[in-house]
Symmetry: C2
Subunit: 418 residues, 2 copies
């Protein structure tokens, strides 16, 4: 697949995250415009609300752009998803006949504030990165018990907290929580001292289901992908997670990228999961390439200082695809809804500088990492800005998600003061 050129010329730069091949979906506002659906093209955003009002874009069973979230398009189903993409490509291609109608509907990204691109119905977080699971398991339970016995047979997941999902740019307040160190007599209530990130991708369910679905059906039901940072309070997690799993450690915030990249845009980057170490049961078997070749990175910028890239990895490091996760999610009959968000689990490569969380990078704080500024980090410190980036590299073009970032604010002095 090569670059499709657009009359929005900024979109034609090989390194630009939003070429015509991408067309990701977000929610934006400006001083003049209330939050609304928009499509990124180069340095601009196409205002979908005005496009629909003006009849430039019409969908059977619409309108869908009179609300500030993309769920209504998802509800219309895959044929509508394809029809919209086709129409957008037609409108924005180099030499488009209707350019003069579209041009007044463009807004510079520099003037836009981004909002949550969709209503999160429910949020599930998986644990599908083998390097991450091995690293965490080694630290929490010892090398002998690193990978749980079920890990190679099911994509382990747990239900997260949808209300804590926020869009990139939202500040994240360091949480308080109940903690008990290995040498403490008893627990105490204190600010988290081991606040962490998790580099993940999020898959968005675009078609509802009610009952078990196959891996192929699951892939068909996915609408698109976002970058996802699952902020994690490791000290709270260590004390609370047995026996029923992470709870308050994972519910302060989960940050997603401002742009949903559609499955259609990622199609050329499909790739297989790594070789199976044990054969999966039939209902979870791979039935085609359902991971994607997407370069991922994390940077950390201390307050007022330049950012250091602390990790680089790739989405294809995961052991299970989002389709396999969704198929497993439905085995017991769980109804899935439009807007359900599935976190991939932390994505870590095999090498030390490919690890997608600080607890792995600093090996539980024992090996602090060095930043370009000369500072070191074991976990996130107040004022740090953490940024995830993703890029699928085509022939002369790049598919990006927009920066997925958050700055950590100090814990409240008294969380109960009013």
């Amino acid at each position: 697949m090569t670059l499709k050129t657009s009359w929005v010329t900024s979109a034609n730069d090989a390194g630009h995250p939003f070429p015509l091949n991408n067309l990701p979906y977000g929610i934006f506002s400006t001083e003049a415009l209330d939050p609304r659906c928009g499509v990124a093209i180069g340095d601009m955003i196409l205002d979908m609300q005005r496009a629909e009002e003006a009849g430039v874009v019409t969908l059977d069973d619409g309108p869908v752009f009179d609300v500030p979230f993309w769920n209504e398009l998802m509800e219309l189903g895959p044929e509508a998803w394809d029809a919209l993409r086709e129409r957008l490509i037609q409108l924005l291609s180099d030499g488009a006949a209707e350019r003069s109608k579209v041009e007044p509907l463009l807004v510079p990204q520099s003037e836009a504030e981004m909002h949550m691109p969709f209503l999160v119905a429910e949020y599930t977080d998986f644990y599908a990165g083998k390097n991450h699971a091995t690293n965490i398991g080694t630290m929490f339970r010892g090398a002998e018990n690193a990978l749980p016995p079920n890990w190679l047979h099911i994509p382990i997941g747990y239900n997260g907290r949808a209300s804590s999902v926020v869009v990139s740019g939202t500040d994240v307040r360091r949480p308080w929580g109940q903690l008990k160190g290995p040498n403490d007599d008893k627990p105490r209530f204190a600010p988290c001292a081991r606040f962490d990130i998790e580099l993940e991708m999020g898959a968005i369910v675009g078609t509802a289901s009610d009952g078990p679905i196959t891996v192929q059906e699951a892939d068909d039901n996915l609408f698109g992908y976002v970058l996802l940072n699952d902020w994690s309070a490791r000290d709270i997690q260590a004390w609370e997670y047995q026996p029923l799993g992470p709870f308050q450690a994972k519910s302060t915030a989960t940050t997603v990228s401002p742009w949903i990249v559609t499955k259609a845009a990622l199609e050329p980057f499909r790739c297989d999961t790594p070789p199976r170490e044990v054969e999966l049961l039939d209902h979870l078997k791979d039935v085609g390439p359902m991971l994607y070749d997407i370069d991922l990175s994390v940077t950390l910028a201390p307050e007022g200082k330049a950012a250091t890239t602390i990790a680089r990895t790739n989405y294809k490091e995961l052991y299970y695809s989002a389709a396999q996760q969704l198929a497993h999610h439905t085995t017991s009959g769980t109804p899935m809804n439009v807007g359900d968000l599935l976190g991939s689990g932390t994505i870590s490569g095999a090498e030390k500088n490919e690890r997608g969380s600080l607890v792995e990078l600093s090996w539980g704080g024992k090996e602090p990492i060095e930043l370009d500024s000369g500072e070191t980090r074991s976990f996130v410190e107040d004022g740090d800005t953490l940024t995830l980036r993703g890029a699928a590299k085509g022939d002369g073009y790049t598919i990006g998600f927009g920066d997925c970032f958050g700055t950590v604010l100090p814990a409240l002095k008294d969380p109960y003061a009013r």
Copy 2:
């Protein structure tokens, strides 16, 4: 507190679950009426949609009864909750001046079908019954590790799946899942063979919060309570739950009672939590009586046969109140929303016949229980109807929730057949 008498005379029987003291909230429909809000009084239901349309009930900032769920009333806040209750008591009391206006708005319960009484925003399930936690811990991890080290310090909870919550009367399909018995070489995909119930109460968040809240604030934010049966696939749970907690084992269905009993109706039945075995940290300490004295029971009826009461216990057996659970839920800053549902955790008394799940009653299947029909049960069998009941006993009156029941259908032969 004694019986308040109503001109709906069926409400005045000492054993009737819906006296004027109760006034629980549900959603009902009839052949002639679409699903709508209703209030139970004796054998009748007051149609709130028509009551509001007719101006018999008006709320500042209303209307709220033009939708088939109670969330809009919750949104109005505690003053509106109190105002509505006061008005309902005025309208339905013996000798009410406006009886002639109200009487045409009553519908016999025998003609009504019940629906989910509220939109579940998110669902969290706790583990706050000490007898249950000890029993389960002993079976899953041995007597030495029965109660996890954190159990006496925090109300352990995990996020559940809101989309799986259904109203009483909904059939429950036995799920498939990935299982691996202790003697199996490898896992297999099969129908659940150890399908179970969990006798719980559900607390409904009526006021949103954003950040840590105190136990008192948490109690203030609760709107009411339902009975709750958290159907559980024990064999799926045993294989999947380490390390991130229950997932597919708990997402087939959770059944709630058709009626929400308000906090106001339960006020006379408030009682203290049991004595603390270790002192709680300040932010979780009891600040008043926040459990309730509610008798609970479970019956099991094989298909076509009479029901046997298999367990009797009381809500006050819990170690943590819903207010303490909600306070803990917010420690890390989790935003809570109107309609969030908090399952109490399984409620078991100290005695064998007071256990709120079959896995406890049959001790993991080793001691099957006998039914009145002569049959035995280790777990739920196809065709069984399980019914939870709850009753708070006042002076000459009873506060009930309506039966919370579900019948288990056989697993699909092929869950992927279309």
